[in-house]
Symmetry: C2
Subunit: 201 residues, 2 copies
């Protein structure tokens, strides 16, 4: 299909939808979900009501897409990080590094994810909480594996998984691409922190 | 002064102001600063415009009071925790415990502090950022002390201070008084985590 064919290809429509989500994310982060209107989002991408609503039905749908999409991406990045790696210490390191890298690269998503879970309606809210629980359990399983293998020294698996996850959220708050710390520097250091928290022997 | 004296004592006025701040904090946490109006805050404490404005001049002033007050309380709790303690490892443990306890007890303040720094105008914003930098430096100094005394094994003092502070913010997000983890359990475990992050020998 050539650009002259006059009919929008699904790809172009998909790009337009992605552009709308990106604009919505920036506005939710900047002024909050409740204070953002569909008109604001339309203005940010140069679209008026009818053409905007061709791509997305509501502000709530946009929030749900952003929050669900973020959790799905995070879960995928976790699976990619640990797949094919057998050593339990190395698995935790890779999982923690992927966690921190994701949060350094998706700061707005993390900020909106933490701040606007209050604005997410059902059934989206339950779905996102389910995905978060899955993600937390993946870390808990890694830690339990390591304890059983005698590689980690942990008082509370649950609190240790929380602490490792807390580190990622922290990075999303303070990390800046143009700051004095390179992404890799932060990622590798925080990977070490996760192993320290797990009391690697 | 008796209640019948007809004149409001400064204490009553102070209580009223505190009540207004508490209501504002709850609303900022629930729906965000931008989506909260002075009328909402007045309604929450049963006051109309003129009597409300006798206590507070604007929504921005309320946000500034909340954010500045929180940081001053946090800095005070830190000083109280470390004062009179000479041992560097014990000082870090107490500082980390105070940090986590404060965040477990002041969850709304922490949530609004992270989420609404975007809404704080100058000169309040610079003031709050200054207080945060002071707080972070207090941890950095504790860590540097321990490194110089040969008690901590740390690659980056800056990243280690960030990581310890991240833990408190995390707790403010997931901790619940009625959850299955007692406050002390979380506080002591996170105190240990801070020492692990500092690589206590």
């Amino acid at each position: 299909m050539t650009p002259e064919s006059g009919r929008r290809s699904p790809t172009v429509s998909g790009l337009r939808a992605a552009e709308i989500r990106t604009a919505a994310l920036a506005l939710f982060a900047e002024r909050g979900y409740a204070a953002t209107t569909m008109a604001d989002i339309g203005a940010a991408v140069g679209m008026r009501g009818p053409s905007l609503y061709k791509h997305v039905s509501s502000k709530q749908e946009l929030l749900a897409q952003i929050m669900t999409g973020t959790m799905e991406d995070l879960l995928r990045s976790h699976r990619n990080a640990v797949t094919g790696c057998e050593d339990t210490v190395e698995r935790l390191r890779r999982a923690a590094e992927a966690h921190v890298r994701f949060h350094a690269r998706n700061r707005l998503e993390a900020f909106v994810g933490t701040g606007e879970i209050r604005s997410l309606e059902e059934p989206h809210r339950a779905h996102v909480l389910r995905l978060r629980a899955d993600y937390e359990h993946a870390f808990r399983n890694l830690l339990t594996e390591g304890v059983e293998a005698g590689r980690f020294r942990i008082t509370s698996v649950k609190l240790t998984s929380y602490a490792i996850l807390d580190l990622g959220m922290g990075v999303s708050v303070w990390y800046r691409e143009n700051g004095d710390l390179a992404e890799d520097q932060v990622v590798y250091q925080y990977g070490d922190f996760a192993l320290q928290l797990a009391g690697v022997r």
